[in-house]
Amino acid sequence: MAEGRRHLALWFPRLATDRLIRRDPALAGTSLILWAQEGQRRLVTAAAEGVPVAAGTPLADALAATPGLLCLPADPAADAALLASLAAWCLCVTPLAAPSPPDGIALDITGCAHLKGGEAGLLAWVTARLRAAGFAVRGAIAATALGAAALARAGQEGAIVTAGEQARAVLPLPLSAIRPGAETLEAAARLGLRTVGDLARQPRGPLARRLGPGLLRLLDQALGRADAPIVPLRPPPPARAVIDCPEPILTAEAIGAGLAALMAELCGDLARAGLGARRLTLACHRTDATVQRIGIGTGEASRDAAHLARLLAARIERIDPGFGIERLVLAAEVTETLGARQGGLAGSAAEAAARREELGRLIDRLRGRLGPRAVRRLDPFPSHWPEHAVRAADPASAPREPPEGWGAKPRPVRLARRPRPIAALSLLPEGPPVRLGERRVVSAEGPERILPAWWKPGGQPGARDYWRVETEDGQRLWVFAERTGGAPAWFIHGWLA
């Protein structure tokens, strides 16, 4: 077991009804119950505060026993989504947070508690925020995640126990607090085991045979004898920086100022670690327990604070501050090694690297304003069909080697976005054009016949006979005749050198 870890568990006793009441405040104070279809029966799954209906009661019985109930269908998926977003908000106190379905959150707060004035202060801060946002919540802190969860569900409100005290605090709790599953719970009840302590007093060998080894594992975790590390919502980023605002901030200017300070700190950390950021996220934790995020990606790893701040600043307007933002977290989600920059001689590898980095920054800036698709490179592609001889690529990616024979045939220096139809005249059925529109053709070279990719499914265009022509006014054009039976249709497809 990891020495000295501390876990905070949160339990939301009325998560499902709180969700609906938050969405529609008119439901507050009504006798709201939620139900779900279970086979042939409709069972109550949750009831609002003060409604004397237990979960698991058939809906018909509940309606008969308690008049004036307001019944709504349950939505487990929305509950799970809400739990995940609450866990994301909890990332403001620790980078290691995980939802523990159906109605709990586990936080690894090792080394984080001093930020809110100790464990008691942290617990009070988190629960007060969540209550203000409209959730009923109970919390507890213990050495292991399951121990804390058991205390939050069944123990004293706001319990904080050390590793040494944990076993004594958990032993009197009912067995359901460690959530062994309904069947195991029933089997244990038949044996007369009702509390965690009853279980702990039994010899382990027979217990494992009767109730399964999983229960022993739960027991060890609850008592602090074994630890199961929580699987965090998202892995902690390689580098991050945090600002707590003394007053909730609302304006884009204030966010920008905070961003600049965060960026300087983050880039300092990245420089010390020899890393550069490829993707950055700015998370704004709002006072109503929700999170707004903006993010950017860069073409080249970078730790140039001014450059990265400029890229992010362009998106600040997308943040909705709501009633105020109280915490800004800037995280480098994806990083790459980036060696220390070193000035070098002209033409040296260091100078080439600096220039490549500068090109990456330029591309990022251009993409930020023009859009990612407006900045591209056309890479050679092995296809005989003229339009497919290149493929748009990210200019920051490694260039592709031209395939064998690519660009060997005479091709136009400028290609029409799509072939332009033109009225043309040719004297022979498969001969060169002698007139293109109003203009006489003075010389024509060809034809070069290009067949479509007949082996591919779908409607294919006809074969094309390409001619390179010069008109009487001096234009050199790439034209083709498309033959799909009957008279050929002529098109201008490009301009030659």
């Binding site: 251009l366 304003r369 407006a374 900045v375 056309l378 290149v390 290609l415 010389s443 050199r476």
Partner: protein, 248 residues
């Protein structure tokens, strides 16, 4: 004032720094156009760290000439054009003129975005050359681009449309004194027009031939040449006759 050996060492290091800055600062110098033309151009070629105008009257040879110059600049280049332009600069054809497809970045931008992108690209030392299609360009913006090019040491080519020319003017005739584009901040202004191909016949197009008209050159004089593209040697070859006399 006497100098101790220590001071001399400090002075040497300061001077070394100055020297290094001078060597590193702009990738000074010029981009050669062709043998025989460079001798006439002020500085011996198209100056880097400056913008040059190319009057885009004929699509094919203008694109080819600009692509050729971008390739000669040696290094990454950007081409800024409106997304609805007549056609796309086409790497398979430009590669034959010496422009590496791996070093060409295409930017779709128009209006203010295009001006902004051109300024950003010119100011960046990462690019060797930038070609931009800018239909409307006032003098102040042109000066801004010139300053950006100086800061980045980048060769800038501005492709500008030419005002309608008189009906009788043939494209083969460079009309040197009827300049209809207006004042400029550019270092030089060119017009490229196509000539009948070298060795052309009804069934042979022949090698590309252009008339290059240098309409304006700051610190130089206007001139006019006929050139042929030699695909074997990958070079522009000036005609034997040399400079073409100007027709008023």
């Amino acid at each position: 004032m006497t100098q101790s050996p220590d001071d001399r060492a400090a002075l040497v290091s300061v001077l070394r720094g100055v020297l290094a800055r001078h060597q590193a600062a702009p990738r000074a110098g010029v981009v050669g156009v062709a043998r025989g033309i460079d001798e006439i151009l002020p500085g011996g070629g198209l100056a880097r760290g400056a913008v040059h105008e190319v009057l885009a009257s004929e699509t094919g040879c203008c694109t080819a000439f600009c692509g050729y110059l971008l390739g000669r600049a040696g290094g990454p280049a950007a081409w800024i054009a409106p997304p609805r332009a007549a056609g796309l600069p086409w790497p398979p054809g430009l590669a034959a003129l010496g422009l590496d497809p791996a070093g060409l970045i295409l930017l779709d931008a128009t209006g203010d975005d295009a001006l902004w992108a051109a300024e950003q690209a010119l100011r960046s030392p990462a690019l060797a050359a930038v070609a931009a299609v800018l239909p409307r360009l006032d003098l102040a913006s042109a000066r801004r681009l010139q300053l950006a090019a100086e800061a980045g040491g980048t060769l800038g080519l501005l492709l500008r449309p030419e005002e309608a020319r008189p009906e009788e003017a043939r494209p083969h005739e460079a009309r040197l004194h009827q300049d209809r584009v207006g004042p400029t901040a550019a270092r030089t202004r060119w017009r490229v027009s196509s000539l009948p191909g070298a060795g052309a016949a009804p069934h042979r197009l022949g090698a590309a031939r252009w008339r290059l008209s240098l309409l304006l050159a700051r610190g130089g004089r206007p001139a006019c040449w006929d050139v042929t593209w030699d695909n074997g040697r990958k070079a522009l070859i000036l005609d034997e006759t040399g400079e073409v006399t100007m027709h008023g």
